[in-house]
Amino acid sequence: MEINREKPSESNKRARNLVLHIHPVLVRKESIRFNLTFGLGGMLAVLFLLQVFTGVLLRFTYVASPDKAYDSILTIQNDIFFGQLIRNMHNWSGILFVLIAFLHLLRTFYTGAFYDKRRWNWIIGVSLMVLVIFQNFTGYLLPWDQLAYWAITVSTSILQYVPVVGERLMEFIRGGENVNASTLLIFYNFHTAILPLTIVILMVFHFWRVRKAGGVVVAEKSSPDMVPSDPDLVLKELVTALVLIAFILVLSMFFNAPLQDRADPAFSPNPAKAPWYFMGVQELLLHFHPFFSAILIPFLFVGGLIWLPFLHFKEKQQGVWFYTRKGEKLVLIAAVVALITIPAGILLSEFVIDVERMLPGIPLIISSGLIPFTAVFVLFALLLYVVRKKMAPGNNEMILFIMSFLMAAYFIFSLTGIFFRGTGMQLMWPWNI
């Protein structure tokens, strides 16, 4: 890209000073290569600002009470100039927020940006990811339509399977036995005050830690050339931001945010599905006892993510996608194996294996929980053993394989839940739903 390097004017200087609050004067040329990071972190910052902006506008009309919430959404959509567009933008950027945050996490993982100096920033990042999901989740209830009411009912019901305190925890989160007026108020408060504030604080910390680590991760062998962040970096950021905003605007012009009938606590729609990012968990729920599928497995996964930078790595590849040639191969193998075994597993569990029928009289937590979970665990360990024998990967490449397999698995579970589950949560083709 040819960049104009004329002497800056007075106002340009002021703009540059502002930029230097965030960026250093010079950055590594390698670090602004687009396909190193794809600008995902920057996109998230833009999305956050967009969410605050549209969210505050929606707050002027929205009323967080069961008798008025749905009507206030209708008012926003029908009576306010561009109200529907603002709501759509809030909806689509909310979805993109979760999606891009997830991609950003994957990017950070696959370019090895979690060792040493970046360790704590990885943990802040994982925490932000969790907060972003809850940010979206709390917003999901606010329209108070059938979609919102039942998705939140199903998702919060999962809490009752937490050992010992589960029931009380669920009632505390809901502010009562069922999803009710208190739940709406609690979710509204978290959505519009507590979570955004926490995110802002962690986000600032997140940016600062990137600076402390010497900027975005780059390969050790990459060229040491430096370029001025203004204009080289700033221009790229601006273009990315504008393209993103344009994309959201176009999306919002053509596709409306969903709004179903007013919530009716006595009537569950069929099927009643969780929000899309929990659909993988919902799919697991159909195969395992809730304690395993919705509590233990997600807990282990997030725990694993937090534990990751504290593992002992013999070799630390940084700034290179998939670490090594072998790493690339392993990611591919993981994806292919998951693509074959996970659908096969889903079909087997749906149509063939029925542990609770084969072992009647045994508590469900064992027959539909412990036994299948152990079986899957043993099979997975076997897979890892074969990979270790055949490919002789280093431990960082092994982690790469495990993570890739789990990610691919979650992706397939989610797709199954979103597109292949119809009435009564039966498996069916997407065009029959």
Binding site: W150, G175, G176, S268, N270, H289, P290, E356, I365, S368
Partner: protein
């Protein structure tokens, strides 16, 4: 022990007191914040008992399953004349179950759990029987106390109420 040999001067003593006071203040604030987190407070959750009057017992045909969606329950009368009020909330993940008279079972639309007429699990993923509400019969009128759900693992004959 280090603390015993350590010399505590005035300055560090005061600092320590400040730290403790700070910790207590944070704790107090946390307790206040925590209690503010449940709108309506605890009183509302327990609630006074609220009754739904269903109708005269002798007008309800044995073998019938009647939905009372406003009260969130199904009133079931068995062939032997016993009454039970089953919560319509599925014990798996809280969807509301529907009565399927042709298959003689309650079916949950969310994850396809099914329950028999007594609320027992016929088909998982639900892990325990439907909750019940207390049924009273006063002067021939059937009343259901909807203020408190009763958890149970399975159906027992004592769950039934007779005229």
């Amino acid at each position: 022990m280090k603390t015993q040999t350590e010399h505590i001067n005035r300055r560090s003593f005061l600092k320590r007191i400040w730290a403790w006071l700070g910790a207590i203040a944070v704790f107090e604030f946390a307790v206040m914040a925590f209690s503010m987190l449940s709108p309506g407070g605890r009183k509302r959750k327990r609630g006074a008992s609220s009754f739904v009057t269903v109708g005269y017992a002798n007008e309800i045909v044995p073998g019938s399953v009647i939905p009372y969606k406003s009260g969130q329950f199904y009133l079931v009368r068995y062939q032997d004349g016993g009454f039970i009020a089953l919560s319509l909330i599925c014990t798996h993940l809280g969807c509301s179950i529907g009565w399927n008279s042709s298959e003689d079972q309650f079916i949950c639309p969310c994850h396809a759990s099914s329950f028999d007429k007594f609320g027992n699990v016929l088909n998982p993923p639900a892990t325990r029987a439907l909750d019940t509400y207390k049924v009273f019969i006063e002067e021939g009128l059937v009343k259901v106390d909807t203020s408190r759900k009763i958890r149970r693992t399975g159906f027992q004959n004592s769950d039934l109420v007779y005229t």
